[in-house]
Symmetry: C2
Subunit: 455 residues, 2 copies
């Protein structure tokens, strides 16, 4: 029985495909250029380029571009044609989602468990304090905010436990990839301080993702014990499959397949068949965790982490994917985040006050918690405080977490906006503050040489 | 005046984003794996892998997958949920379109004008005959078919001139990238025969794209002289800008920016800022040609061609983009094409007869025309015929052209299907027939050594 394809996939046969493409092209041009301009400005200000990209996405949103050029904004992001309507946004959303799965896969591969093992007790103490303190403070803040969520733009009723758990988790995030980049730029990645920070951040990363998965399960499972136990069991089972089945089967295959430098000097590469296999597995993993109920991005991260630890494989996969993800998919995600962020939602004095509170709690919990733990662990006060500032970096990871919260429906738009600003603020303050705190320390000459401190 | 973002981009705030993502993931898994499996089978049959990928896309369409497993087919490509409806197909369409623009850009960069210059009169003669003969035959066939287009499933009335011009163009296509790959696999790329074929195919390429642009302009401009002159002037103007403004400004910048082998051995790479700039320009170029009225893909090709000729730049851009385009975007395009192709539309004896006629005209025009020109140019009969068979390869290029025709609305679904089968058939016959024709020639030992001929 042949199927009528025009009934199954009518849009393939619709006229005007080319017309529908044009607004998407305009969006892509704007997004790609804005991200790179933001990155350039950030580098010029001696900030990690990703902060610039995040801010660029924010500026493309309703609070800047939308407020200053409302007609142009509507034309670009609505595509001018109301009848094309939803389809354009669907394209952008799909690109953003697929890109995020690829990104989390790459982040997973980069993950270096050896840091966690090597650095022992001090890092563990810092990490633990750096999660417990902001989580507790965030949880408490959320309870205080709950009665006022209506005033902060919550559409329906938001479960207060979900909100509190989520805000606690959002406060405990540390952005290890960005932190790594900052440390490299400051020339500190191999110093004792740098190694401790990276190890602690790596711990945070594992705990943070686990927390987020648990909170997702709790919120999506609606706190029904049976469903939640099922989701947690399924997640653990899938992680076990990744680690004990996929890794032993796939990693040696990848390692054998990496071809160094054929085709002249193309660098470490995988054959296309293997690359396809990895991509397909990645989408399968994303589908599985999404089906479990804890978001597709976890599948990307889990598969990536289960392939981590072999530099050759990591380099080859990064060579194939990282640049395109960075210049194409990631800016789309940042714009997507920016479009969701309305600074206008902080227009009331109350909302502004809550925003300050969110920022204060985030900084106090992370900086205070980690700094105190480092000091108690025997570090000099300046360096201990510096550890706190570094750990306070949230950047990209926080955005991913907040978007999960938004999709779960456990935070209202105004809180989403506060957390975006918090993510940017905590990242922006890291480099200049850390440099200042290290004046007079053994690290001063390097920082002066690299222009982070005046001589 | 702040804008209400939920009004501009409501889907970003819609619940169930994650649910909408899942069917897309399933599609991507199926598409990526099917393409690679098709490629593997093709390689095993000593055919270029792209033929396998095209056939895989066809098998995923309504004629195979859809006919054999109708429920599963509908579930995969409709996403199960009727309410999610159009959005899923929009994602797939957008991925396919963006991927095609990237592909045409890469094809443009690969273009080697020096072949055309070096090979002189013989190649020019072959190329000209290889366009004139199939174009004339295709045009005549179209005129014969026109009265029967209703019976072939044309929805509205199709302009007979547009149809005839388009069919003529579709017959004259030669697929230079695939042809290049076939010649390399047979070890013939540097032989006099191989060089002549590549040069002739390169000529064909330029003329073919120009023809397609002209036909697009004619059809889209509805044969209004004013509009068409405008479109042609705009296209020439844009091509001139690419060649005389973009190329002199951008190419030296790219050449200077290529970094060989930093980061250990990452191969020739461009800084991310430059890569972003190229991507943005690519989308701008696509937007411009789309706005002119001759399809976004031309913009990709024109920008690519205007950056061609510098191996270092070509390698760097390919290193960044080619693999991901091949394993991710290209299979989506093939599936997109497959979904549009209904072999069932050839169910009547009349349609089947037209299909045979299309195939015969395509082969006769190209093989006959090129073979004759080569023989008259002084080649031995066997080699001349071999040139014809090689030039008859259509593959990927033909699919791109047919999709343009479908989007222009100048061909009915049944003719679309005939042309897809013709593209696959002419490509499949190339390698085995060419090898057989070269038995007894100076090329026999190489072909035997590579397993294309039995000793």
């Amino acid at each position: 029985m042949p199927i009528d394809p025009t009934a199954v996939v009518p849009v393939l046969f619709a006229a005007g495909r080319e017309e529908a493409l044009r607004p998407l092209l305009v969006q892509l041009v704007v997004i790609v250029l804005a991200a790179r301009a933001g990155a350039a400005v950030a580098r010029w200000l001696r900030q990690p380029s990703v902060v610039g990209e995040i801010v660029a996405g924010l500026l493309l949103g309703p609070s800047a571009f939308g407020a200053w050029f409302p007609d142009l904004f509507a034309a670009v992001f609505r595509g001018g044609d109301a009848s094309a309507g939803g389809s354009l946004e669907v394209s952008l959303t799909s690109f953003s989602q697929v890109g995020l799965i690829l990104l989390l896969f790459l982040i997973g591969i980069e993950f270096d468990f050896s840091h966690v093992r090597r650095q022992g007790r001090l890092a563990a103490g810092i990490s633990l304090a750096g999660i417990a303190a902001p989580f507790a403070l965030g949880y408490a803040l959320a309870l205080a905010m709950t009665p006022r969520l209506d005033a902060l733009g919550a559409a329906g009723s938001i479960d207060s436990r979900s909100f509190a758990l989520f805000l606690g988790t959002a406060m405990s995030i540390t952005a290890i990839p960005i932190l790594g980049r900052i440390l490299i730029e400051m020339g500190m990645q191999h110093t004792p301080l740098g190694a401790t920070v990276v190890a602690a951040a790596a711990c945070d990363d594992v705990v943070g993702w686990t927390l987020l998965a648990a909170v997702s399960a709790l919120a999506a499972g609606n706190f029904e014990a049976g469903r939640i136990v099922g989701m947690i069991a399924a997640t653990l089972g899938f992680a076990a499959v990744c680690l004990f089945v996929v890794r032993p089967l796939l990693l040696p295959l990848l390692e054998r397949s990496v071809r160094d430098d054929d085709l002249g000097h193309a660098g470490p590469r995988l054959p296309l068949g293997i690359l396809s296999l990895v991509l397909a597995l990645l989408f399968v993993a994303a589908w599985i965790t999404s089906q479990i109920g804890i978001f597709a991005i976890f599948g990307g991260f889990l598969l990536g982490a289960s392939l981590s630890g072999v530099p050759k494989v990591r380099e080859a996969l990064a060579a194939h994917l990282a640049d395109f993800v960075t210049v194409f998919f990631l800016p789309i995600f940042f714009t997507f985040t920016g479009l969701r962020t309305t600074i206008g939602s902080l227009g009331t004095p109350e909302a502004a006050a809550w925003c300050v509170a969110v920022f204060a709690v985030a900084v106090l919990g992370k900086w205070g918690g980690c700094g105190l733990a480092a000091r108690l662990g025997g570090m000099p006060a300046g360096e201990a405080s510096c550890v706190g500032v570094f750990m306070n970096t949230r950047a990209l990871m926080e955005l991913i977490v907040i978007n999960v919260g938004m999709d779960l429906g456990v935070i209202p738009p105004a809180v989403y906006c506060m957390l975006v600003l918090m993510a940017i603020g905590t990242t922006l303050m890291a480099t200049p503050l850390a440099a200042r705190m290290l004046r007079g320390s053994q690290y001063e000459p390097t920082l002066v040489a690299r222009g982070f401190l005046r001589a």
